[in-house]
Amino acid sequence: MAKEPTFETPKLKEYPVIPLIQEGAMQHIKPFVAKAEFQERLGFPGELVEGWKDVALNRMGELLSQYRSVQVFLDACVKCGACTDKCHYYLGTADPKNMPVARQDLLRNVYRRYFTLAGKYFPKLVGAVDLTEEVLEDWYRYYHQCSECRRCSVYCPYGIDTAEITMAGREILDSVGIGQKYSNEIIGKVYKIGNNLGLPEPALADTLEGLEEEVKADTGVDVRFPLDQEGAEILLVTPSADFFAEPHVDGLIGYAKVFHQAGISWTLSSYASEAANFALFIGNYENMEKVARRIRDAALKLGVKRIVTGECGHAWRVAYSFWNTLIGPFDFLDANYPQPQHICEFTHSLMKQGVLKFNKAANDHRIVTFHDSCNIARASRMGDKPGGQFVIPREIIKACCNHFYDMAPETIHEHTFCCGGGGGLLTDDLIELRVKGALPRMEALKHVVDEHGVTHLVAICAICKSQFAKVMPYYGFDRDMVISVHQLVGDALDMATTH
């Protein structure tokens, strides 16, 4: 049963080529389904419910009345095709159902059949279809081949965001009892233990203690990694991968060094030891609020003045764009700082104040490029100006290393390509999809590697880091090429001059 899947890694081409469509090319790909226990923990039915068709259509009707995005996006598409060559999964797989408009059509065609006059009376004419078991299976397959990266929304003349449709699709699937194992089990772990990885408090305390010793041995400086310290100035909320995964953990060391040099007290929380909020991926408001609320509770309990978020793409989207709405207002925090704040905003402002001194030569063995994460690039901001999410990380990188080269302009900033593993797809049962979806990013990387001898790909998101470390070897790159922004910071930070 557990046979190693066989597939061919796409070839890296000199120039990106838009593939001709190959119908059904990814028909065989679908992630494992969540067990009843995990479905129920999130408030969903454990298995496919009786009369699922009515339940699904009811839920669709509810979503249409609750989300203007869903209602307008399902109506407004003119099938112009501008999005058809924008999705990394289409470019990597050639399956036409991975074209954003075709992915939306899976839902739109059913919407038309049951919710519009044209679809009720002339279904063939407008491509409306009945909701059948085959359609439901296609939803499950292809709404789990979208990383909700929003790249298509940049180019759509009406701003149609396929992520919203994918989320609606997953929400409907959950409502009839078919959830994805990976995302839903992870949300369950957050409720039960406090983080995605299921790392309990003692293990976390142990890990942090180990890190203190490691940094002491490396630098001779007593950099602290406090946990549950009441009265600290800052609560750091970071993806739990930062606690032990490679290369993430070196980023965490970087944050700690920055806090140390700034002389500002901080703490992690064992109760809210997770910045990630996978409820975003399944498009479920209630669960997203519940996951986020742990952070507000922890901040109140610990009596902190500020909340800072670590390097994580979708977590920053939820924090920046949704926290104030979901769990705000943050009137109990220091009004002098934006709430919440990204670790890059924090480091950047210290840098501007001259609090941090860098020895750039420490990174001279690295020639780096930067991967804009989709959720940071297209669904959030840093600083007070639009586009700060592109400028701030780059200014930090350039301040602590001498050799920086951007990838091709059509693959960075708001045009950035997803790593191929976002949106709840970072699971081994989707490895073929992940490898193929990484193609556009790998091609852009190959270009700067050949042209400038780039040795490192700097990422700012836990999912990007894990995904790249896993799939880059398929393309002949070393997995150690991936590093955190704050690993560069930590390595270049002059720790001799203490605050």
């Binding site: 203007r68 996006f73 407004a76 074209m99 180019y155 759509c156 701003g159 769990i327 708001e414």
Partner: protein
């Protein structure tokens, strides 16, 4: 009063009613549906004024489409602005005296009819030539283009080949507007042109032509990027979090 006149008079009243009521219904539905979260595609403006500028660029220049696909943008832009000119030019059949600026547009409106055809043919060609666009095209997508081409084509034929009595036509439409019906000349080409326009008006609120009002209700475009400064709670979402805060010792 001929049967033709009565039928077309009634058809135009019906089409206008369907167009106006249908659009009003959709627009009020869009307006009434809340958007529970802030989802502008960033980088996005941080002020209301910035959003007005962003929307204006979308409406006037098709900014996003320009980023997306240059051919579609070119044909699409040509078609839409030619259509606008043609529609404005047609105001001369509904106003007496004709507004000065409509008179000024007159010569441009004629060229615009050709431009409109060029745009439409270009857009239709993509539906055959590009495999990806062919895949996503439903019969209605082809028919919509055919309808618009037929409207433009029949209009041009009337202008240059089989003329119609344009004075009488104007009297007919003014008569419709002031409820003082005048006869419609039963020229076949004119009747074809008018029938197609009636079809377009009726189809509008039930089709993808809703992209016109839709753009103004697209949260990724109209929302201001200020979620850290302003909360954005939808009425239906207020119940969540009311039971907060969750029990820390669970």
């Amino acid at each position: 009063m001929s049967v033709v006149t009565v039928v077309y008079a009634l058809l135009f009243y019906l089409a206008t009613a369907v167009l106006v009521a249908g659009l009003a219904y959709r627009v009020q539905r869009y307006a009434r549906t809340p958007q529970p979260l802030k989802i502008p595609t960033t980088p996005a403006p941080t002020t209301r004024t910035g959003v007005v500028l962003r929307m204006s660029r979308e409406v006037v220049f098709f900014e996003s489409l320009f980023k997306g696909n240059k051919w579609t943008w070119l044909f699409g832009w040509i078609f839409h602005f030619a259509l606008l000119l043609v529609l404005l030019r047609h105001l001369r059949y509904f106003t007496e005296p004709i507004w000065d600026w409509v008179t000024l547009l007159q010569p441009w409106g004629i060229y615009a009819a050709y431009a409109m055809l060029v745009g439409l043919v270009g857009l239709w060609a993509r539906r055959f030539l590009v495999d990806r666009v062919r895949y996503i095209s439903a019969p209605s997508d082809h028919l919509m283009l055919l309808l618009l081409i037929a409207i433009a084509g029949s209009g041009l034929l009337m202008k240059y080949v089989w003329h119609t009595d344009i004075i009488a036509l104007k009297a007919f439409f003014l008569g419709l507007m002031y409820f003082d019906w005048r006869p419609l000349s039963p020229d076949p080409l004119l009747l074809i042109h008018l029938t197609l326009v009636v079809v377009l008006m009726i189809v509008f609120p039930f089709s993808k032509l809703l992209h016109a009002p839709g753009l103004f209700f697209s949260p990724t475009r109209y929302q201001v990027d200020n979620p850290r400064e302003r909360r954005h709670v939808a009425p239906w979402a207020e119940k969540f979090g009311r039971t907060a805060s969750s029990n820390l010792s669970e």
